[in-house]
Subunit: 249 residues, 2 copies
């Protein structure tokens, strides 16, 4: 999270003391992944973030940040919380650690940050560092390093919100590729919820809801039995979303 005027926004009018942070979720290798930035010349990691211009809405700012970091612009995005404690973290320590990147005098005395999370198709993302970082990398949820600022708290809350949303809405259209297998989808749910699911019950439930349709193809080239492919039925998916159709797994 940038809490200073960054190079990319130089000369543009910004909303003072207001920033945003994005928790970008992807799914790969049967694990939930999160996109993190490594600060230049350090081994310090944080969530991607940005500032808000006077001429863009909060949602537009979040979309811009996501586009910059991932190359994707059609994105599932949710604002989940605004973080506004007076002392969100130890600023002095951060200023020292990042003094070689940002002049300590440029930090706001206080910043409020709006938290967004996004679900993206891992395969379509081209991670792209910003001017203050020299790496933008996917991290497995269970291997996340220590994060700067209050980003562990933000991540925690994003994950809780995602799990809640998953509990009463279909999710996944944005996390999975166009065609996917039922075990893929199930492992996505397992990764998000952090628990094992019974494959028979899962399949019944998903098929009953009608949000996916079975294709007349199987996935070839994988070892063992070839799994069927499915795709989302977008119309039905939207319907279930609108109904607020309960959807506990």
């Amino acid at each position: 999270m940038l809490e200073t005027t960054s190079k990319e926004s130089e000369g543009l009018e910004l909303i003072p003391q207001l920033t945003l942070d994005c928790v970008i979720f992807g799914f790969h290798d049967n694990a939930l992944k999160i996109l993190l930035l490594k600060w230049k010349g350090t081994d310090l990691w944080s969530l991607p973030g940005g500032v808000i211009r006077q001429d863009e809405s909060l949602d537009e700012a979040a979309i811009r940040v996501l586009k910059e970091r991932t190359g994707i612009d059609k994105i599932f995005l949710r604002q989940f919380h605004t973080f506004g404690k007076v002392q969100r973290y130890d600023k002095t320590s951060i200023q020292e650690q990042l003094a070689h990147v940002i002049d300590p005098k440029l930090w706001y005395k206080r910043a409020i940050s709006i938290g967004y999370y996004a679900l993206v198709d891992y395969e379509e993302v081209f991670p792209n560092p910003d001017q203050l970082s020299d790496e933008c990398t996917w991290w497995d949820l269970v291997e996340i390093p220590k994060l700067l600022f209050d980003h562990e708290e933000i991540l925690e809350k994003a994950l809780r919100s995602l799990r809640l949303e998953l509990s009463f809405q279909p999710i996944g259209l944005n996390l999975l590729p166009e065609k996917f297998t039922m075990p893929d989808m199930m492992r996505m749910y397992e990764a998000i919820l952090g628990k094992k699911i019974d494959p028979r019950n899962f399949q019944k439930k998903i098929l009953n809801s009608g949000i996916v349709v079975k294709l007349k193809e199987v996935k070839r080239g994988v070892a063992h039995k070839s799994p069927f492919l499915y795709k989302f039925d977008r119309k039905r998916y939207e319907e279930v979303l609108k109904e607020g159709g309960l959807f506990f797994i």
Copy 2:
């Protein structure tokens, strides 16, 4: 929602362009009520709101606003959304309508507002207008007048969030008085959800959850059969909250 430096905060350092709006829910006469302010010398209504001081957290600011309007300081409070479109409403029109109260030159060109909702015990509230309004009054949810700014949208979203929360958590400890009857509680649920509930099923469900205990008293002085009184079992209530115990009605 104040979008200018108001008298009450004169001389205090504020976070620029950031405000907060509160949807304060109460329950009375079997109806869900909302606290609204009438702007001085007008018949224009809006939600109570305020600004955020540099030395207070967002939550503290919300608590301060609630305390000022209701006199209550132990309050059930939820941050539910941050509203940040570039043009949240027709500013020119608002500036004209309120020109006699606020110098049009003092308005921010744009303000972002953090939405909170609160559940309070109607009986304990002493509604108290702020410096810019001459009335602070409860309104029945189904009789709400047109609201200024984008406050109808904010109210709408607050209600959706409240209903969602009601669906998977116990609620009501803060809306009902110390002792209440089962029909009271049921009508509170009906008022929030906007639909009829079967009294037998409701009672079973609530008693099963263990969040209330039956007292050895009945409510006297009401016409017709005397209903039993109940009170919340706070310990069990907190437990169910933590479990995230599902709680659909």
